[in-house]
């Protein structure tokens, strides 16, 4: 499992480095997406499905928003024809073939590792996390929650959760204040 984890982390690092040096803003964003979704696979391999769910949803939403921002800002579309006409004979552009092959290879790669990581998990709805046994017994007993993560989040670490929710609330207030069109009188 450590080998698989290392491979995924190497891919994440490559994606991050490419994002720094990419000339096009959109391809930089998409390689940032590699980092995010690689993190999802890491969380699944390390048996943290709670974090994986949050990461995959938040990554998708932020990626959609950021791509929308990039498409609406300075980027200029590169227009290329898929079929090229040379001397009366039409060829499919070489770049498109390479792109399609790359997409298929990466999709198979990701599917394989998702399969690997999903089979190391317990079945959906069974909640065995391998922490220290004493902690498991105490948490279930004292909070009455079968999912220990939730039990810890909302009981032992209740103050943390209150703080997190307040941070999100404050962030929304800040965004609404900055992005309004006119000042209120």
């Amino acid at each position: 499992m450590e080998i698989v984890l290392s491979i995924v982390i190497v891919f994440m690092i490559l994606g991050a480095i490419y994002a720094l040096y990419a000339k096009d803003l959109l391809s930089a964003l998409i390689s940032c997406g590699i980092v995010g979704y690689g993190l999802v696979i890491c969380f699944l391999l390390l048996q943290a499905p709670d974090l994986a769910i949050v990461q995959i949803v938040v990554e998708t939403i932020t990626l959609v928003i950021m791509v929308a921002v990039v498409l609406n800002s300075t980027r200029e579309e590169l227009k290329e024809k898929a079929v090229v006409n040379i001397d009366g004979v039409s060829y499919v552009h070489q770049r498109y073939i390479v792109n399609v092959i790359l997409v298929v290879v990466f999709a198979l790669f990701l599917l394989y590792f998702f399969k690997e990581s999903i089979f190391t998990l317990d079945h959906f709805g069974e909640h065995v996390t391998r922490m220290s046994t004493a902690y498991i017994e105490k948490a279930a007993e004292q909070t009455g929650s079968a999912n220990l993560v939730t039990g810890i989040l909302f009981d032992f670490r209740g103050y943390d959760t209150l703080g997190e929710a307040t941070i999100l609330f404050t962030a929304v207030i800040g965004i609404l204040t900055i992005l309004r069109a006119k000042g209120k009188k």
């Binding site: 909640h127 909070t143 009455g144 079968a146 999912n147 999100l168 965004i175 992005l179």
Partner: protein, 145 residues
């Protein structure tokens, strides 16, 4: 804001309800299975974002929705703090104590206040993410044009 192609609209129409229900499931079963208020809230917000992106809307409607989701978000965090402060007056009289009966471990209605906390946080996160999205869309439509 314009909608997308008929293909996107049809697929959205088919799956948006499932996404929404999955979010609700994650929130309400937060104390039994992986997930909880934060994860489920993000999934629910995603379903609303998908609807707005696929079908589009005019600016006045979006403004109304932004007001509504902002109010809902405030109510969510208010519910959370009220639940937390209620512990001072009930039972052991400690802030954030679990004052409701805990029930049988593994059943849907168990774990005392934790499911209620989950629901409050779920409402808060869903409305907050949707509000941020709407604020960005309205900014683009109104200011940038």
């Amino acid at each position: 804001m314009n909608g997308m192609t008929p293909i996107v609209k049809k697929v959205t129409q088919l799956i948006v309800g499932l996404i929404f229900l999955y979010g609700i499931y994650i929130i309400t079963h937060g104390h039994l299975t992986p997930g909880g208020g934060f994860a489920g809230g993000a999934v629910v917000a995603g379903s609303f974002v998908l609807l707005v992106l696929a079908y589009g809307s005019n600016i006045l409607k979006l403004k109304k929705r932004e007001e509504g989701s902002s109010v809902v978000e405030s109510l969510g965090i208010l519910l959370f703090t009220v639940l937390a402060f209620a512990a001072i007056f009930i039972g052991t009289k400690v802030f954030f104590a679990n004052y409701l009966p805990k029930g049988v471990i593994g059943e849907l209605i168990s774990a005392g206040v934790i499911p209620l906390y989950n629901i409050a946080v779920g409402i808060e996160v869903a409305a907050a993410l949707f509000t941020i999205f709407l604020a960005l869309v309205i900014y683009k439509e109104e200011v940038l044009k």
